[in-house]
């Protein structure tokens, strides 16, 4: 999932200050799972903003709505029926959601209410961790299902570095050393020999070679 966290309320208030009729737009997918931009969080943020406006004597209408996915056009299109009521959208989607809504409504400013963080896992209630950088060429097989590009602070493909102590990362002792995890897992599978070879430099063109990436699949197109 894509994880995100809500921006500080003051930053949001500064960004929406010029507008009088605002739609707080939630997203029911990833950012709902990580409790940042779902229906509940959208209602809470809209309510907080209305209260702050009232205290400060500002005349502003803030209404809220949550759609299933801001990043997929077919969920965004129905907003067309209500969009003329607003002079700005405060999106609680991830960065992709914000831009997809903005693309669909070129005349309406779409303001981000969240800081998009990473692709990750829900480890526990209120606890999410990054586990994939989307490199475009998955190497998890070679590393026993632990991604060193994401989980090693130095992105080593031929680790571990000299700072691994007691299974902890030197950069943050709260973080397990990814290379210790890799060695432990591969040992369990009897596959430690996968680490004897030198992994060559990563082909980063698959991640950032020519600007924003796209996937075009003719078999999926009508």
């Amino acid at each position: 999932m894509i994880t995100a966290e809500q921006k500080p309320i003051d930053e949001i208030r500064n960004m929406i200050a010029p507008y009088k009729r605002i739609l707080a737009l939630g997203c029911g997918s990833c950012v709902a799972e990580c409790a940042a931009g779902g229906e509940k969080e959208t209602a809470m943020l809209a309510s907080a903003l209305r209260m702050a406006a009232k205290i400060n004597g500002e005349e502003v209408i803030i209404e809220e709505k949550t759609i299933d996915r801001q990043c997929v056009n077919e969920f965004v299109i129905p907003l067309d029926d209500i969009m003329e009521k607003y002079d700005a959208v405060l999106s609680l989607g991830c960065g992709a959601g914000v831009q997809a809504v903005a693309d669909m409504f070129p005349e309406v400013p779409v303001i981000p209410a969240l800081n998009t963080e990473f692709m990750g896992e829900t480890k526990d209630q209120g606890y999410w961790v990054e586990s994939c950088i989307g490199c475009g060429d998955c190497m998890l097989y070679y590393f026993g299902g632990v991604c060193p590009l994401t989980r090693c602070a130095k992105h080593l493909l031929n680790g571990p570095c000299g700072g691994s102590m007691d299974g902890r990362c030197e950069v943050d002792p709260d973080v397990p050393c990814a290379w210790q995890l890799i060695i432990d897992r591969l040992s369990r599978f009897g596959a430690l020999d996968r680490l004897e070879k030198i992994y060559p430099p990563k082909d980063w063109s698959k991640k950032e070679g020519c600007g924003p990436r796209k996937i075009v699949r003719e078999d999926q197109q009508k």
């Binding site: 602070a153 130095k154 992105h155 080593l156 493909l157 031929n158 680790g159 571990p160 570095c161 000299g162 700072g163 691994s164 102590m165 007691d166 299974g167 030197e170 950069v171 050393c177 210790q180 060695i183 680490l195 004897e196 030198i198 992994y199 060559p200 430099p201 990563k202 980063w204």
Partner: protein, 308 residues
């Protein structure tokens, strides 16, 4: 320039090599580099220059090495993969060779979060092992990464680092084998205080025949105080200072502590000299280059070999 690596000559002649670290200044003053190099001259075979160590902005190691070469000394250029992508790293190898620098030490570098530029983007396009291989291929195959030919190859004696004290110990020899396979002509270790653990590591290398495939330089750092010993043990990742050494430093009066630090350092070097497979020593006297002369002399390593 036709100069050759002095470090390489010393090692290939079977002499016990001595290098020492020189940290460039947090400023643009060449005098500070020259002053440190003068303290090391005739005491060491090569002056090893750190690359923005602890991720604090300093004069570039390439520029400082050029200053040192200009004084007629051999230098070891440290380059970390933290700050430069593969284009810049390869370009700087060519530039360093053109300036007459003949030794290159490839490292990953202290993570940017440790220094004074915590908001920096860490590059880590290559890792240190990949970087060693790239440097070797530039020198031996005369090609850059991807295979394009060089009009003229760089001339570099290539080194890498090893930490005998990091975990997991059973994997340390495997990783060092990879560094050697990648092309490390010499290996410089993390500061050695725990000689027992160092010997355990060295035995693991001998079992794999690795001590015959590369020149291993043992790293040493003279302690200045018990506080420094404790700090290095507790706060510096990958450094192991045994309790008995901390106690020994605590057991001498304050005005004798630096002397005791030098004593420990000399004793360590004398032990290292006796260990088969250790081909030299790298002295990291952090902001204490004045100590190097005494350490080298008392370790019976003067005069340094001459090739003129």
């Amino acid at each position: 320039m036709n100069n050759v690596s002095r470090l390489k000559k010393v090692l290939e002649n079977g002499e016990f090599a001595v290098t020492a670290e020189c940290g460039p200044p947090r400023g643009a003053d060449p005098e500070s580099v020259v002053k440190k190099a003068k303290l090391l001259k005739n005491n060491v075979d090569s002056v090893n220059v750190t690359d923005n160590q602890t991720a604090i902005v300093r004069m570039s190691s390439l520029a400082a090495c050029a200053l040192i070469q200009g004084m007629g000394l051999d230098s070891v250029l440290q380059m970390v993969v933290r700050d430069r992508n593969r284009i810049a790293l390869q370009s700087d190898i060519l530039g360093a060779s053109a300036l007459g620098i003949r030794n290159l030490l490839c490292l990953s570098g202290d993570h940017q979060s440790f220094g004074n530029q915590g908001q920096a983007k860490g590059v880590f396009d290559l890792d240190s092992i990949q970087f060693v291989r790239v440097a070797k291929n530039m020198r031996d195959e005369k090609v850059i990464l991807g295979g394009d030919p060089l009009s003229s190859p760089p001339d570099m004696f290539i080194g890498a680092t090893a930490n005998p004290f990091a975990d997991p110990i059973q994997f340390r020899a495997v990783r060092l084998a990879k560094k050697i396979e990648a092309g490390a002509d010499f290996i410089q270790t993390q500061c050695i205080y725990n000689l027992d653990r160092f010997e355990t590591w060295l035995n693991m290398l001998r079992e794999r025949g690795l001590t015959e495939k590369t020149f291993i330089l043992g790293g040493v750092t003279p302690l200045k105080s018990p506080g420094m010993a404790k700090y290095m043990n507790n706060k510096v990742a990958g450094i192991d200072v045994p309790e008995e050494l901390i106690k020994r430093m605590e057991g001498v009066p304050k005005d004798k502590q630096r002397k005791e630090g030098i004593n420990i350092c000399v004793e360590t070097i004398l032990r290292l000299k006796e260990m088969p497979g250790v081909k030299g020593v790298h002295i990291m006297a952090i902001e204490w280059e004045e100590a190097v002369g005494e350490i080298v002399e008392r370790s019976g390593l003067l005069p340094r070999p001459s090739f003129d």
